[in-house]
Amino acid sequence: MRLGLKILVLCIIAYSLFSYQGTTAQNKKESTNYPNKDSELAILMRDLVENTEKVKKQIINGEEIEFFIEFKKLHTAVPTEVNLRDDGLYTAFTESYIYSVKELINTENDKATLYNNMIQSCINCHQQICPGPVKRIRKLKIKK
């Protein structure tokens, strides 16, 4: 085959493949799972879930537990509901949660029970204030 024809054939193949792949990728548009502007507290809660899942695994595996969340931010992060802290309920639940985290960190025995107590304090708060994620939080408990 002459060189010119070889180049022509390669160009046709390359064009065909390129244009076909480009088309299949355009049929559906992917999206972020969180399309709205999230509040600081909502983002902090997502980080907290991620951290808690790691702690759950660490307890199940008998490893040292590690929290990377700055818990004081629970008191300062801007919430979705601007008046969240007005009636004192959220603050009281937050204090209760932080106490349960300290118990978990400072007590050596029966970490699984203390961990589940901590998760229950999350559920208690969410049932009163924001019930949407309660099902998700229940899944964080360690089954005994």
């Binding site: 064009y15 355009q26 049929n27 992917e30 799972n33 969180y34 709205n36 049932q127 949407g132 994620p133």
Partner: protein, 157 residues
């Protein structure tokens, strides 16, 4: 040589036609399960019929969104047949809808059931929807409603 060029011409023509057909498909947006497709979709009326004979059904159902949680987009109501509404929440709080999605056609994948919605949840939902305190206080009884409480994916058209 002529055969080769003729074959390549045919391949190019075929792919060009495929491309033209694909371009006529409407672009859509997926939330949640990124592998979700539009295959096997049923209408709202079909879902209602299905739940007349069984307790639950794993479905992909299509309908128009009538309301979305105004705070985060963490739940939505979908019109099934003009009268009945499907209440939808999302698996593991793992994805939300755009706040302005009302009026958009959606395909929702998940386990559909007829479930009771508690007074506490209905009050919370009313707060999210921006209802007045009077309306919220008037909610005193639970309701039975079509629901997908853990949708795995949603396609917005």
């Amino acid at each position: 040589m002529k055969k080769i060029i003729y074959t390549l011409f045919c391949i190019t023509a075929f792919l060009s036609v495929s491309q033209a057909q694909s371009n006529t498909e409407k672009e859509y947006t997926i939330y949640g399960d990124s592998k979700m497709t539009t295959e096997g979709v049923i209408s709202g009326k079909e879902l209602i019929s299905l739940l007349e004979t069984q307790d639950s059904a794993m479905v992909k159902v299509e309908g128009v969104i009538s309301e979305v949680c105004s705070k985060k987009g963490c739940w939505m109501d979908v019109n099934l047949d003009g009268e009945e509404t499907l209440f939808v929440r999302f698996m593991d709080y793992g994805f939300f809808m755009p706040l302005d999605a009302a009026g958009t056609t959606a395909i929702i994948e998940g386990m559909a059931k007829i479930e009771m919605q508690t007074v506490r949840w209905l009050k919370h939902k009313a707060e999210d929807a921006g209802e007045t305190q009077e309306v919220i206080d008037a909610i005193t009884k639970p309701i039975i409603a079509y629901s997908i409480s853990e949708a795995t994916g949603v396609i917005l058209k």
